[in-house]
Symmetry: C2
Amino acid sequence: MTKIEMDAIDRRILAILQENGRLSNQEIAERVNLSPSPCLRRIRRLEESGVIRGYVALLDPRRLGLDLLAYVNVRLEKRSGPALSPRGGDVTHADLFRAAVQTWPEVVACYAMTGDMDYLLRVQVADMAHFSRFVQEQLLHHPSVIDVKTSFSLETFKETTALPIV
Amino acid sequence: MTKIEMDAIDRRILAILQENGRLSNQEIAERVNLSPSPCLRRIRRLEESGVIRGYVALLDPRRLGLDLLAYVNVRLEKRSGPALSPRGGDVTHADLFRAAVQTWPEVVACYAMTGDMDYLLRVQVADMAHFSRFVQEQLLHHPSVIDVKTSFSLETFKETTALPIV
DNA sequence: CGTGAAACATTAGCGGC
DNA sequence: GCCGCTAATGTTTCACG
């Protein structure tokens, strides 16, 4: 995990790009008082070093009919692995659960957490019917899951992908 | 909140753009089997209607030294407003808290939630020292905050800004 | 780091299905 | 209505000073 050297101009470029990832290189160069070529060289370096992970379009969930956002705390079975892999290695409940999470499109984020619940899922679905089906048929149906506790988002007051780079 | 008509091509364009927001219109047009101009017209329409909220660069928090991600549950004082605004309107604890949240850069998301805590904050900071200072000097210091409960992310297994568009 | 030129991309107008 | 062509304009990119 190479942490690269960055100066004030690099940080300004990052601040600009995490607000608007489609500005032209020319426009960015102007804002940081550079000509286009060194500015582009800096951006490429930030991309290649992994500081910039990628560029994405952000969509509006409500305009896509995804009106329900839930945070689900999940507790897993802790007893030793429920199965042996074909080659004899242990497969833990955590492994199974994490693999399942990758296949569930409604789960847009999954973290292992401190505290008395093991995982926190961010779940984005159309409505309560869909959520209920997801919990019953996927989450609680999963052999590694012992218990879930859900909170629903009533309103979003702040939500940004922009990190606080000082 | 106008929900606009979208066909299969529009959805394919959205799916492409939420994975890579910097593809050229030409490239996207090719992938959806359209010529550049109708493709661009569709993208502009999706932008103007608000389905596409914007384009951003995603940065790697760890490469920026932001190694600590916390989810903080916050409970607020419920008794009637602690102050009157100059023009006489009531200012609730919720109003005060939400305004403060906007000014705290380490809070990258804030939701009002169901359940026994009122708000859920996503907090991104360098280390425990910074987090501790934030909780003591900002959160607990705020007159509307009664109580906070924090969980820390140990590991991220899935995290995407791409919504499940079917 | 900046200049300049070639390659490439965007976008408005117009005609056709 | 929505598609695709063309042509003008703007942008990216790279060798070189």
